[in-house]
């Protein structure tokens, strides 16, 4: 089974802190994604990556950056956390080999105080 692991289930940070959210997948998937989910707004794509060291902006990249130094790991970085970045963050991965079925991690609930 595909496993997508997010490093923290719950995270509490202070305004202005630099925050790292880590995501690791174990199925050699080329594609990795970061979404945030807010009540009433559904899932919104922040950034995605189709290969190591490649990154593309999604629909709401402002205030975020990403890093993909290794194929299995995709990190989301909040350079200076703000209260409006309090949200559920979901990492996902998929392969390029035909189906591109999307698999999600268990999510990180981030609270910025």
């Amino acid at each position: 089974d595909v496993k997508v692991t997010q490093s923290s289930r719950y995270l509490v940070k202070r305004t202005g802190e630099k925050v790292f959210l880590e995501c690791v997948q174990d199925m050699d998937h080329e594609n990795m994604f970061w979404y945030r989910q807010d009540p009433g707004l559904g899932l919104r794509l922040i950034y995605f990556s189709y290969d190591v060291k490649m990154k593309e902006k999604g629909d709401i990249p402002e205030g975020y950056s990403v890093s993909r130094e290794k194929k299995e790991r995709f990190s989301l970085i909040l350079e200076s956390a703000s209260t409006n970045q309090t949200s559920m963050y979901l990492c996902a991965s998929s392969s390029n080999g035909g189906t591109e079925e999307l698999f999600f991690g268990s999510g990180t609930q981030l609270s910025v105080l």
Binding site: F33, G42, L43, G58, A92, L102, F104, S106, Q109
Partner: protein
Amino acid sequence: GIQVEQSPPDLILQEGANSTLRCNFSDSVNNLQWFHQNPWGQLINLFYIPSGTKQNGRLSATTVATERYSLLYISSSQTTDSGVYFCAVHDYGQNFVFGPGTRLSVLP
């Protein structure tokens, strides 16, 4: 871009009842998936179903790609079926587009 709609937005059932959830999409797709988000936030893959019919236990799904819709059937519902059901489509572009979800509550 492609639009995805889901209906109904909310559904309340008594345990043991059957239900049908619908996903409409506005353009051709090469991938359609159904997910269940449990109360703890985990998104669980239910079906990868760009066309045709699949069954997995009490759940089944049908996608009619030519008519741009997919249906998720839940039979003999259980309280553990509660949560939000999302469909997501991949439109030959780069990314997946998610519907707004159907929130299902199954009462004991």
